[in-house]
Amino acid sequence: MRELATGRDVRGRIVAVAAWGGAALVVASFGLLVADLARRGAGELTWRYLIEAPRDAGRAGGILPIAVATVWMVALALAFAAPLALATALFLDEAGTPSAPRALRRAAAVTRRSLDVLGGVPSIVFGLFGNALFCRSFGWGYSLLSGAATLACMVLPLMVATFDEGLQRVPAAERAAAAATGLSRSATLRHVLLPRAAPLLLAGTGLAVARSLAETAALLFTAGYADGWPRSPLDSARSLSVHVWDLALNVAGGDARACAAALLLLLVVLALHGAVRGGLGWVLRRRSRGHGESVR
């Protein structure tokens, strides 16, 4: 709406000032957050920090075992969630075809709504659930595995949503061509759907990783607090986010190291988000340029 002329009256000016001012305030808050953390934590964020183990309850030393545990937890969570999300997205995709029976379409609607609700569930509730189901009922106790399973539940709605979006963007013309040549559903999946949806599949995975890294509340009483080397998936381990929490609230004098950990976490998450957005934009732009007329 920038093409519309602004009024020279007072109200027009007030609105303009409010708009610019609000935006400036948001930028300033974000800038303040990043700058302050960088200022405090950058000094501690050294190579040694990354490759040493924590000492003195984290007041000294580094974060290597924690970083490793975090990576393991996220990888396991993805291993659980990604196939499940893909399967669900494929179900939603098939139920979306015009010739699908009504029952199937209603099942898909119910699934979507349930996933919406799941997406709104507070992370602490996931923690309670994970504690009751994985730690107690399954008998895994406070472990990397419990944490990963809980994380998988949390990122499922996000992954399904993104995968679904990816599949929806497969041009109808290509699906029709596949059907016309008698391609089976699995062959269509392998040769048409997956390649076409690949950018958003990757994006969904990237976003899920970022979300898992950022998660704390769900891990507090599923994966626990142990800051040593996890020897098996059934060992308790802490993620980087839990480490920040512990140092900030439970360890007196842990502030400096907490700043470093928080800064590292922030940078990784922001870089991941930026990469997903940037990469996706680039891929989609390249595709639309190369396939000019065929994509809508």
Binding site: E3, L4, A5, G7, R8
Partner: protein, 271 residues
Amino acid sequence: MKAEKDCCAGRALGAGGCGRVAFERVDVAYHGRLAVRGVSLAVAPGRTLALVGPSGSGKSSLLFCVNRLIDLVDGATVAGRVTLDQRDVRSPEVDLLDLRRRVGMVFQRPTPFPFSIRRNLELPLQERGIAARSERADRLRAALVAVGLWDEVADRLERPATALSGGQQQRLCLARALVLEPEVLLLDEPCSALDPLAAAVVEESLAALKGRVTTLLVTHSLAQARRLADDVALLWHDGSAGTLAELQPTADFLGSPKSALARAFVAGAGR
């Protein structure tokens, strides 16, 4: 800037100017591709000019130049001069909002705002700064009377405008344009999206307004041009862009068209 001596004498509508529209060698291009080339024409105050021609000949583009609505179109560029009362509409001294209030426009499809009928008409008045409620009420009534809607909606001004029929909505849009007492009225095929009955009613309103406001009417129907217009301009796409093929008073255009193109057009399209 001086206005011409012959206008402004005995003018009933218009505040300040008299509504003389002129195009001087105007080109319009979209993303670099020329759509209209070298159009020059003038419309004297109070006269109605019908712009006819096949689709794609640039009729609507020219219309959009007068109130600079062409600025809203992505990638559109205009060369040449478009003047209102001999002042270039694109000169930096022109207040864009003031220009658009002096030039009213009705689009092909009725676009009532999702408010009550009253608010549809009052919003432009409030914007213009007419604070006195009585004056707004007077203008509102005058505009609705001018389009023949007053009797139909006087008792339900608070009802939503979207509840009106298509013909009524379009007349409301016309009233909304008139409520600001513009000097120029731009009509972009105002009847083509309406059913014949509604179209006829709208045309009646337009006929009643004839002579009071300078009007540029884009239309596909030569019959409508005959009924409503003083002059006809035929625009034709010559393979590269739209150009002005012929400009004459209506009777001459329909009775004895000068160019071969016009003759073919009248013969083929005249209904």
